[in-house]
């Protein structure tokens, strides 16, 4: 009997161990490796000059103009993209929650931008923005908004915002679907009660709908924040970070340093710094969001 109990006690660990081992190897080992590399000078085309330098790479980054340019762009990138996606997703979800003909089809179609591979999205939008053949310029010139074609991705003032718009388009269906699920979980009796109490549409939205989907908004917002912050594929395909550093974000800078300049030490330091900043931001976000949810 005792033996059976012992066996029963360890069984769950045995069952869990494959997943734990895999996670350790594919998540924690590379993370530890990145931290290890960030403390070294390591140009991979100079394999003999691998040297421990302590925090030198981190100090260099703090004095590096490109680091601060990239950090600022990252802030704009997250600060505009996530709220824009959330707002557009909310509006879409509210529309899709209404009854209208072909609603099922509309709900299916709205997911398309989310379902497209990022590279396809990036290439498609690169052609939309193209200065010479792009459809956006063509329309804007025809309706008289622009006098002549504008190089959206080649102008440093508009390049990042253009990509923000692309990512907003790509990511809003995720919010729409999540919020729609949240909306459908709100019992209709709440609206009926509010109606009887004489609440206006806005008051119903403010005091019934929003509290009903607050949890979804916080969770979806957090997920998107992490994904958008780390997302470099669309930027990389659309501009490669250019013109100049106009569309560099911190993860992209880390990627270019490691992959193109082959400077794995400095690239890893940038990645580690970004992880710490993002981690701190997420803790702050969760505390704030948690507090407002409880309230």
């Amino acid at each position: 009997m005792t033996r059976r109990r012992k066996g029963g006690a360890t069984l769950p660990y045995w069952l869990l161990s494959p997943a734990v081992v895999v996670t350790l190897f594919i998540v924690f080992v590379p993370m530890a490796e990145a931290v290890f590399l960030s403390l070294h000078d390591y140009l991979i085309w100079k394999p003999t000059s691998f040297a421990f330098v302590g925090l030198k790479n981190f100090i260099t980054a703090l004095g590096d103009e490109v680091f601060w340019i990239s950090a600022w762009h990252t802030l704009i990138w997250i600060g505009l993209t996530v709220p824009a996606q959330m707002l557009l997703g909310l509006v879409t979800a509210l529309l899709l929650n209404r009854t209208f003909p072909w609603r099922g089809l509309a709900r299916a179609l709205v997911i398309i931008p989310w379902a497209l591979p990022s590279v396809i999205t990036a290439l498609m939008w690169r052609w939309i923005y193209d200065a010479n053949n792009g459809v956006l310029n063509d329309i804007l010139v025809r309706i008289g908004v622009l006098q002549s074609a504008f190089p959206w991705l080649a102008d440093p003032d508009s390049a990042l915002l253009s990509i923000v718009l692309t990512l907003t388009w790509q990511g809003f269906p995720f919010f729409a679907v999540m919020i729609l699920a949240g909306l459908q979980a709100i019992p209709s009796s709440h609206y009926e009660a509010a109606d009887i109490d004489g609440a206006t549409t806005w008051q119903q939205f403010r005091h019934v709908t929003l509290p009903g989907i607050a949890g979804v908004l916080v969770t979806a917002g957090l997920l998107r924040l992490i994904w958008v912050a780390n997302s470099i594929d669309v930027i990389f395909v659309m501009t490669g970070g250019g013109p100049g550093y106009a569309t560099y974000t911190l993860p992209l800078y880390a990627f270019i340093e490691a992959r193109t300049s082959l400077n794995f030490g400095y690239g890893s330091a940038l990645a580690v710094m970004f992880t710490i900043i993002l981690g701190a931001f997420i803790v702050f976000y969760l505390r704030r969001a948690g507090r407002s949810l409880e309230a």
Binding site: P47, N132, N133, S148, G242, P243, G244, Y245, T260, L262
Partner: protein, 408 residues
């Protein structure tokens, strides 16, 4: 049943081992833009002639070719042989990735068929031979003959004539007040350093790594190039981000009247434009009429990590021989490195071959320095884009490049 399964398993394992022992596999990386490439037929021909060797040829996309190659070498997963360019040679040597092939070339029948002097251009900085040339091109100036005729222009031979022609070509052809045609399709994105070097380098004493990039004359030359975009506005507004597709597409569509590329794109140009396109050597931009254009090389190398270097050598030397090399170049649209292949070359129109041959006297390669990879892939594209968009000055751009070469 159990016994039967066991016996079958042992037999299968023995068969696998036997196959592995008898057939050497050569992993080969190359990059062809043309998806309809002849690599399969070349591999079949080689394998038929060399029954013990299997070729695994992989077409790796150009944009990430060197990123993939360097990381594969460091990760211990390098191919046995690959297509490589001269600018990468110093870095590959520093990594200890290249196998010297002097002895193999010395005993190779095909060596006398190689064009004169071509091995010397591809020699390593230490005098040893690591690269076996497989094709070459020289960059020249494409111009639209119809536009030049209409405006009574002649192809420019100096930078002043070039600027003058570019300004005249930049015009509103439809009368709607908007510019429809630009003088020159400048490649401001990755790979455009050749355009910039043609317009700027002849004014720089000692070349890129000569330490004079911040001298007054050199900065003025760069300012002149930047002004072509900012003040004269003879490049399309998208120039800072433009790459190969944009400059070639823009030229074919009539958006630009001139651009710089090589014979590899000439057949496509003729297909789109017929006799409305021609080519001449790039304009001379030096104070005493010096010109600079890029010798576009492509070679083959055996990697030091290759398990069977003889098999890898057999394969790369096969690609550099007579008719095989002609077939190879049919796909890339570039020029053969063999005398026998050059003798009856009919893959390109004569005017483009002439422009190439006439450019050879001043065609040059980038400095043989590990910094050159960074110049090509990172420092030039970023600093050029920043200078064109007014983020930094022409002098600051030169300083960045000077710092790069100075740090090596």
């Amino acid at each position: 049943m159990r016994k039967y399964l066991l016996a079958a398993g042992v037999a299968a394992a023995a068969l696998t081992l036997a196959t592995a022992a008898s057939a050497e596999t050569v992993r080969f990386w190359y990059h062809f833009d043309n998806p309809d490439n002849p690599m399969t037929s070349l591999v079949e021909k080689f394998e038929a002639a060399n029954p013990g060797i299997t070729i695994e040829a992989e077409n790796v996309p150009w944009n990430s070719y060197y990123d993939n190659l360097y990381t594969a070498i460091v990760g211990g997963d390098a191919p046995d042989a690959a297509m490589v360019k001269l600018f990468a040679q110093p870095r590959l040597l520093e990594m200890g990735a290249l196998e010297p092939i002097d002895d193999m070339i010395a005993s190779w029948d095909g060596k006398d068929d190689l064009l004169d002097g071509i091995l010397k251009i591809n020699a390593g900085p230490d005098g040893k031979q690591y690269y076996l040339p497989v094709q070459y091109v020289v960059l020249y100036l494409y111009y639209r003959t119809d536009m030049f005729d209409e405006l009574g222009l002649t192809p420019p031979t100096t930078c002043e004539e070039f600027r003058d022609a570019a300004i005249k070509l930049t015009r509103d052809t439809t009368g709607d007040g908007q510019v429809d045609t630009y003088g020159f399709g400048f490649r401001g994105g990755k790979g455009g350093h050749d355009h910039w070097l043609t317009l700027t380098l002849p004014q720089v004493e000692g070349g890129l790594d000569g330490g004079n990039l911040t001298a007054d004359g050199a900065v003025a030359a760069n300012q002149w190039t930047v002004d072509l975009f900012q003040k004269d506005k003879v490049f399309p507004p998208s120039a800072p981000n433009d790459g190969f597709q944009e400059i070639i597409g823009g030229f074919k569509q009539g958006l630009t009247g001139m651009t710089i590329h090589h014979i590899g794109s000439s057949n496509g140009m003729v297909e789109a434009l017929g006799d409305k396109v021609s080519a001449v050597p790039v304009p001379a931009c030096g104070p005493n009429g010096e010109a600079w254009t890029s010798y576009g090389d492509e070679s083959l190398a055996v990697f030091s990590s290759a398990e069977d270097k003889d098999a890898a050598w057999k394969w790369i030397s096969f690609l550099a021989e007579g008719e095989n090399n002609v077939l190879f170049n049919k796909a890339t649209g570039q020029l053969t490195v063999t005398k026998s292949g050059s003798a009856d070359w009919d893959l390109h129109e004569k005017r483009f071959v002439d422009a190439t041959v006439n450019s050879l006297p001043f065609a040059a390669v980038l400095p043989s320095s590990p910094a050159t990879s960074d110049f090509v892939n990172v420092v030039w594209p970023t600093s050029m884009q920043r200078a064109l968009t007014g983020d930094i000055t022409a002098a600051e751009m030169m300083q960045e490049i000077q710092d790069l070469y100075g740090s090596e």
